[in-house]
């Protein structure tokens, strides 16, 4: 270490100087003594002699030469270092000799012993402690590797691109000099080392994590260093922002090819995250059957997370109350829970037993509040189960929905299920036969658990594919309105019969309005969460329709076709009602931004009430 060396050097120098000084002093002293010797004084016993002389002088004899020598002594003594005790004594002697000299004359009186006036002299003892040098070095975490003999590392490298062992030998000596000479350049890795690192688990995890970070950072289109003062010739097409346009489409070569989107949904907690559940890949046997991918709007090229399961995932959603959990229902009837903090396999799953579902689960909903919530799932055999999310071993409640509609059996085949906003005990189901029923979870005064057989909502001719209740979003309450979509090419708007006033007699309820603009099976319909009179539907020809009932009742306000013409399976609005995710049957997930029309004006609610009144009066 250089500072230590420097210190040593300095110490050495000081020592040398001190030695030098001492030598000089010695020399002077010897010179002095020599001179004293010349004037008849010996070195070794000179002090003694002097004292004797002093005493004798006090007594009587006083050699004159002594005084002279002492005078001679007196002056040099003041020059040399005060630390020398010899000098101290001389100094002491000096005033003594002075006094002795002054009292030279009355030396004749030997009886009177002149008391030498002793003056206390203050000598400042310089006791300087050695100056402590506080050296403060901070080491970096890396170690300096000594640059070994480079030839030994060369090895049998004769391959192309990643091999640069020949070059760095030339590049490294200059590199070693350039920044600081402290760290020698690192030794280049051999090909075998490199390969082993590249396949190691830690490296792969590191690469996964850091490449995601870098891709997210790269995708930032806003350049925060733009200089607005500089004239820019770039033309920005701003009109696209106002209309409905496609933001992006998510797909992954490895995971979404040959699969179709079974379900899609947005995260409540992170508005940029969305998920898509995919069906089985028939082309590949080794891949997992069920795949759920979490996509990030800021990371368009690859999924954030990849979750797998043993059987097709038919329905999936983010858990509203747990920010890291994703819940899925499968074709085999199992309920799975994945955790974003864990690996790609489910952390919890319900067993394949008769206690749970044994048929595909096509609808799922979490109802309740943060502290008391349940997961309700419905499978195609009419079984509706309620689960506690931490205990998937068996459902909390199981309710078999039966309705004597079918001649052969009582069961109904549930394809969709929906709860009105804030309702937890009563729900509506859509069936494969095309009927919609209201069902209660529990027995109540006046109505039993199960299907309410008295009210029938029979207007569809085919399987009901989607059922959605109006979300409570504004000053007026439309939460008894629901929409249904079906394979009979129609979307119908209904007003649900209130559950608090159960009907006594058989009643057939007719829809308020039927939208027949589609030319193909309509696969899904959803209300906008913010705009009271807007909803969207997707159909089998790849069409995406947006209806705004306040402006047009018969036809959609906006109708778009996604490029490929493949069927769109599912539709999900994001939390603000600004974007929609469309899942298509070729595995692509399209994100559309609806622009200005998705934002409701303040009078939309009252306008919608009028529209409804008009519809009812027809």
């Amino acid at each position: 270490m250089l500072p230590a060396d420097r210190r040593k050097e300095e110490l050495e120098k000081k020592r040398a100087k001190l030695a030098e000084l001492r030598a000089a002093k010695e020399a002077r002293k010897s010179a002095l003594d020599a001179s004293r010797r010349d004037s008849s004084a010996t070195d070794s016993t000179s002090e003694r002699r002097d004292l004797d002389d002093l005493v004798s002088s006090l007594v009587g004899d006083r050699p004159v030469s002594r005084n002279r020598s002492r005078d001679e002594l007196g002056t040099p003594s003041s020059v040399s270092s005060p630390l020398d005790p010899h000098v101290l004594r001389e100094a002491l002697r000096a005033p003594a000799s002075e006094t002795a000299r002054t009292e030279k004359t009355p030396a004749d009186t030997p009886a009177e012993k002149p008391r030498p006036t002793l003056v206390s002299a203050d000598f400042v003892f310089f006791d300087v402690p050695p100056r402590e040098k506080v050296m403060y070095t901070k080491e970096i975490q890396t170690e300096t590797i000594d640059f070994p003999n480079a030839d030994a590392v060369e090895g049998p490298d004769s391959r192309s691109s990643p091999n640069r062992d020949a070059e760095p030998l030339a590049a490294e000596p200059p590199a070693a000099k350039t920044p600081e000479p402290e760290t020698p350049p690192p030794e280049p890795l051999t090909e075998a080392e490199r390969k082993s690192i590249l396949s190691s688990e830690t490296f792969l995890n590191f690469f996964d994590y850091s490449s995601k970070l870098v891709e997210r950072a790269l995708n930032e289109p806003y350049d925060f260093m733009t200089d607005y003062a500089v004239n820019d010739d770039r033309i920005i097409d701003d009109s696209a922002g106002k209309n409905v346009h496609r933001v992006c489409s998510f797909s992954d070569e490895r995971w979404t090819r040959n699969r179709s989107v079974a379900d899609c949904g947005w995260s409540q907690k992170h508005p940029e995250l969305l998920l898509a559940a995919y069906s089985k890949n028939h082309a590949s046997v080794t891949d997992a059957d069920g795949v759920v991918l979490i996509w990030n709007l800021h990371l368009r090229e690859r999924p954030e997370y990849i979750f797998q399961s043993q059987s097709d995932v038919t329905v999936a959603a983010f858990s509203d109350f747990h920010q890291n959990l994703v819940i899925g229902g499968t074709y085999s009837g199992q309920i799975l829970i994945w955790d974003m903090r864990a690996k790609s396999r489910p952390v919890l799953q319900s067993p394949l037993s008769a206690a749970g579902h044994t048929h595909p689960v096509y609808s799922m909903r979490i109802i309740g509040t943060q502290n008391a919530h349940n997961l309700l799932t419905a499978s195609t055999d009419g079984l509706v189960c309620s689960w506690q999310l931490d205990m998937l071993a068996h459902p909390q409640e199981a309710l078999d929905l039966v309705h004597p509609s079918n001649l052969k059996s009582d069961g109904i085949s549930v394809t969709t299920m929906a709860f009105p906003y804030n309702e937890t005990t009563t729900f509506w189901v859509g069936t494969e036969e095309g009927s919609i029923y209201q069902a209660n979870r529990y027995d109540r005064a006046g109505s039993k658990a199960g299907i309410n057989g008295l009210d029938t909502y029979n207007a569809h001719y085919g399987m009901v594919t989607g059922l959605d209740f109006h979300p409570l979003s504004g000053p007026a309450d439309f939460s008894d309105l629901f929409l249904t979509s079906s394979v009979d090419w129609t979307v119908k708007l209904w007003r649900a019969k209130s559950a608090s006033k159960p009907s006594m007699v058989q009643q057939a309820i007719t829809p308020l309005c039927s939208f027949e603009d589609a030319d193909d099976y309509v696969y899904d319909v959803k209300w906008s969460p913010t705009h009271p009179s807007m909803f969207a539907s997707v159909d089998g020809s790849g069409r995406f329709d947006i209806y705004d009932l306040n402006s047009e009742i018969e036809v959609p306000t906006v109708s778009l076709t996604t490029g490929t013409g493949r069927a769109l399976n599912k539709l999900a609005w994001d939390k603000e009602g600004r974007r929609t995710a469309l899942g298509s049957s070729d595995g692509l997930l399209y994100i559309y931004d609806l622009g200005e029309i998705s934002q409701p004006r303040s009078d939309e609610w009252t306008t919608f009430q009028r529209t409804l009144a008009e519809l009812e009066s027809r």
């Binding site: 970096i140 760290t183 396949s199 830690t202 490449s211």
Partner: protein
């Protein structure tokens, strides 16, 4: 219950695919994967540049890391981003390895949707 390799087979081929995807992003000039000492594991640039970048940037990242640790001993450097007039250097760092990306941010598309 838990598989050896997480079910999602990450391997060298995926690494290659991701590297090609990142380099084909608009404006990205190159990627260097290095260890903390500066030894290069993988690079998409030519030799001389790679050597320069790996030695200089790893030292810079080490310096940045020591700064962060000095300010707060429990803290650690995760991401370092240096913007110059012509380039942007992004360094993602973990305990053993660094992923260095050089891009030219002036080629980015403007206009956030």
């Amino acid at each position: 219950m838990s598989l050896q390799k997480d079910g999602v087979q990450k391997d060298y081929a995926d690494v290659e695919a991701t590297l090609t995807r990142i380099t084909s992003h608009t404006g990205v000039q190159g990627i260097v994967i290095a260890t903390h000492e500066g030894s290069v594991i993988r690079s998409t640039l030519d030799n001389i540049q790679t050597q320069q970048i790996s030695t200089l940037v790893t030292q810079l990242a080490a310096r940045g890391k020591s700064v962060v640790r000095d300010l707060d001993p429990e803290d650690d450097l995760t991401f370092l981003r240096i913007r110059s007039k012509k380039n942007e250097i992004m360094v993602a760092e973990t305990k053993q390895y660094l992923l260095i990306t050089i891009q030219n941010p002036n080629e980015l598309q403007k206009g956030w949707i």
